[in-house]
Amino acid sequence: MAINILVVDDSAVMRKMIIKTIRLCGLDVNQIYEAENGREGLLVLDRGEVDFLFIDINMPVMDGMEMLSRVRQQEATKKLPVLIVSTESNKGRIEEIDRQGAGFVHKPFTPENLRKKMLDITS
């Protein structure tokens, strides 16, 4: 079944790169939505159409860690597959991402790496 994806990143270039990479992954993708920060991303999630979520960490208005925390607090999205895409290397933060049940992809990433992480999470 084709999935709907939401990409949340304040950089339009990075959103395009992630979307381009998703298209190259050979996965069955239907709609890809975009949001510039965590707050916008939560509004898109409220529509209930998203099956997979990509989140950047460093964003204005609402950062990725806060968005992830809110996603996990909501009944409708608490089990949503989430992949954090960031240059983050702080062990504490990466452990927190893991505790919240999300995957982590370090920038820069290859299409192979992104695909593997997506499959790891969805399986």
């Binding site: 304040d10 950089s11 339009a12 270039v13 990075m14 395009k16 790169m17 381009k20 460093n58 204005p60 960031s86 240059t87 983050e88 290397s89 702080n90 062990k91 504490g92 933060r93 920038k107 820069p108 990433f109 290859t110 192979e112 790496n113 593997k116």
Partner: protein
């Protein structure tokens, strides 16, 4: 285990002229820059003999740069300068998978590369387990100067020669214990 291995070439040129090695940061920054360009922009470093020829030309033109500030366990700024407008166009085109990026896409691509390089470089100064905050990248036009006092900071500068141009990365920094 992640099956991907960094395709960094072993016999590439490192421009160390007029630079003093400090804790091997330059080698690490060089590797980060090469890896970022290989994976993100599909651009690869020149062999040593090719890079020597390019260096003779000293071909850095004045153009836009991107600056990323950071603070926390280390404080400072990183500047990335592409060698030419053509090189910047190639970078953006490769990153986005399009033929003719517009000005906004070019500056956005430069900022994103700056963000990735800075995000991977700063932990070198911040010692990995400490938190360092990366500010959003900004664009400096050719006539603009950097804000802030960088003269008192330590400086690392690296040139990387790639198949479609070159890039200069300069990092100004102060570690937390020095503040």
């Amino acid at each position: 285990m992640d099956s991907y291995k960094r395709p960094i070439k072993l016999n590439t040129y490192k421009d160390m002229e007029n630079m003093v090695k400090s804790d091997n940061y330059k080698d690490k920054i060089y590797d980060i820059v090469v890896n970022t360009f290989e994976v993100t922009c599909y651009m690869f470093p020149l062999e040593e003999w090719e890079a020597a020829d390019e260096k003779e030309r000293n071909f850095f033109e004045k153009g836009i740069r991107s600056v990323v500030g950071f603070n926390g366990a280390a404080t400072g700024k990183m500047i990335i300068e592409p060698s030419s407008g053509e090189f910047l166009t190639a970078m953006a085109a490769n990153m986005l998978g399009i033929e003719a990026p517009d000005a906004e896409e070019k500056s956005g691509a430069l900022c994103e590369v700056a963000n990735i390089i800075c995000g991977n470089t700063v932990p070198l100064f911040a010692h990995d387990d400490q938190i360092c905050y990366i500010e959003p990248p900004s664009v400096l036009q050719e006539t603009e100067n950097m804000d802030g006092d960088i003269d008192a900071m330590k400086k690392e500068s690296v040139h990387v020669y790639l198949d479609e141009g070159a890039v200069r990365i300069t990092v100004y920094y102060t570690m937390e214990e020095e503040l």
